[in-house]
Symmetry: C2
Subunit: 364 residues, 2 copies
């Protein structure tokens, strides 16, 4: 079985590591032959060779959303999840519109152009989050706006004609997410819900809390949305749990997700293996939890910047190092953590955070 | 970090899959460039290029014992575990002699040449197991001898001057094993003991039973032997639990072991990752069990010979497919199994065995 992956980042890298166990061969399409997944694939293709790439692959999946339109148009064969799901996700306005039309609970929002920004902000009501329509991930192109003065920076960074989603700023009690998997016959499994903590728009750490009253609501929405998008593969959905106990959808992604990395060590089957099982017509693996687990991202640090020995001497930790060039706040790797119970898990996560970043964190 | 592996089989393959997570690069020395580990390594070397191989590697380990003497003699640099440990293991007579001198409990045995076989058999007393001194693994070169007539076959297959170990045949209640890991500073951890079932001298399946009264005895012997052999890396030890409750050492291997494959899904850290942590001076990972687990070997079957869909639809199963050419009774892959409790685990192992081999097995 030859599996193609659009994108060569760490999500593709982990998909390959997991998929090798199934005996599959992997081909990566990415501009960079030294990207994490390109380096360990059986073959690498630049975007210009999308035709050749397509022909060698029995099935193609993707590991990030921002794939050039020219590549999408020239893909041949079996792309899973569908390019349609990807196209909806590629535009924040489409994503919000799609969810809103189907009646999923969302923060109030408006779509506007740069020239109508103030109007949209007034209509939604301060404070708001303004998100550039395209190429927004890991907090890029996102602005927290508390007063109209804050719009100045957005006007500086962007040009007339650019589109934005203006969204009410949610005063959340917790950020949650769940990754679901759906196979070609429509069978669905959903991994346990995690609680996530972001820092400057980038996931810092997450863990599997004790199952809560909203678990059923979350699983229902993930399942419903997988059907609405006709997903074959993975769908990750991020939620806000509001102060009043409501669950609102923040965003979704039809691919492996940073908040699902814990599944490599904590779940019966990882998100990456289940993606491959789904798109290659193998039975979905169990999404049950083996043991309470969590993850800490390593942001903007090289191996030399850390005391690796100290970090890995915390019991139940494993390192995943992507081998990327260091950049400020870039996701360089992560540490998975497992522990026999919730309390131990939290104290270990705390310890790992402290040892990576050399400062104290107060965990929720 | 450049890690060299002598041998390109599935043990090397799994070591690479696990080691990629730590960001290491891997170089394999093996006659076959298409062996499982050679195919996924960063570089492959034939035995003739042992010098070049040595120079590129920061540390070298091995994944099987039967490495050509010429390779061992021409290795430069840091080989862990030591070549001395390997040399003891390469000869069954040395292995037995070493254990016996140090007072470890063993089945009674004698070492002899082909021409003195009958004498040795009489001295040990029928029934016995006769094992060729060298190149014996997976039941190769082993003979169960119930009467002197059975010696005819051995005389046919071997030549004068060849050496043998003649060993009392143990009427065992169970076969057990445990894999230990020891780092450069002498710190030791031992993975949980497993119960193993062989068929025609080859491991068929194993699992982690409830901890037993002999657990402490086994862990003590594994730890002691790691010190006696000055192991840096892994040591797997196989035991007989006799009808009378004694624990005897059957054999050892200073490398990853088939009976430790369950650690990939069942333990906090896998045997492969702990090998790498030990030889690259990272803190040893916890050897605790996350969840009851076991393994079934896939012997002599291709993917086409099996109903993979049926096998993987047993909850808690994962496939490891080595990508080797099919041969009679060859280890082609394995299925790891995890389950919430012992009873469920046993019934799942039974189900997986039945679905792979299309026949009934009675589990102990």
């Amino acid at each position: 079985m030859n599996v193609g992956i659009l994108g060569g980042g760490q999500l593709g890298w982990m998909t390959i590591l997991e998929g090798r166990k199934l005996g599959y061969r992997f081909f990566v399409l990415d501009r960079n032959p030294k990207s994490p997944a390109s380096r360990i694939a059986d073959g690498w293709f630049p975007p210009e060779k999308v035709g050749e790439f397509s022909r060698i692959c029995d099935v193609i999946t993707y590991e990030f959303e921002h794939i050039e339109e020219e590549v999408l148009e020239n893909l041949e064969g079996n792309v899973l999840p569908s390019v349609e799901a990807l196209r909806i996700k590629k535009s924040r306005a489409n994503e919000k519109g799609f969810l809103s039309r189907l009646g999923y609970p969302l923060p109030r929002f408006e779509v506007c152009r740069l020239e109508n920004l103030e109007e949209a902000v007034r209509s939604v009501g301060l404070p708001v989050v303004v998100k550039a329509e395209r190429l927004g991930y890991d907090g890029k192109g996102q602005y927290r706006v508390f007063s109209l003065k804050d719009l100045g920076k957005i006007r500086e960074n962007h040009s007339e004609g650019e589109s934005f989603v203006v969204e009410e700023m949610i005063n959340f009690r917790a950020e949650l997410s769940a990754v679901g998997v759906r196979d070609r016959r429509g069978r669905i499994k959903v991994f346990p819900v995690t609680q996530n903590v972001h820092e400057e728009g980038i996931l810092l750490y997450n863990w599997t809390p004790e199952s809560s009253v909203v678990e059923r609501e979350v699983v229902g929405m993930v399942s419903g949305l997988m059907e609405d998008l006709s997903i074959v593969g993975l769908l990750a959905v991020e939620f806000f749990l509001t102060e009043t106990g409501d669950v609102l959808i923040n965003e979704f992604a039809p691919r492996p997700h940073n908040t699902g990395h814990y599944t490599l060590d904590g779940a019966y089957t990882s998100q990456f293996e289940n993606l491959l099982r789904a798109i290659t017509d193998l039975p979905l693996g169990s999404t049950k939890l083996k043991i309470p687990s969590g993850m800490v991202n390593i942001l903007g640090l090289s191996l030399e910047d850390m005391e690796l020995e100290e970090i890995l001497s915390v019991e139940g930790t494993r390192l995943y190092w992507y081998g990327k060039e260091k950049r400020d706040r870039r996701k360089m790797g992560h540490v998975n953590v497992v522990a026999k119970d919730q309390e131990t898990l939290k104290s270990k996560l705390h310890e790992v955070l402290r040892r990576i970043y050399q400062k104290e964190y107060s965990l929720p």
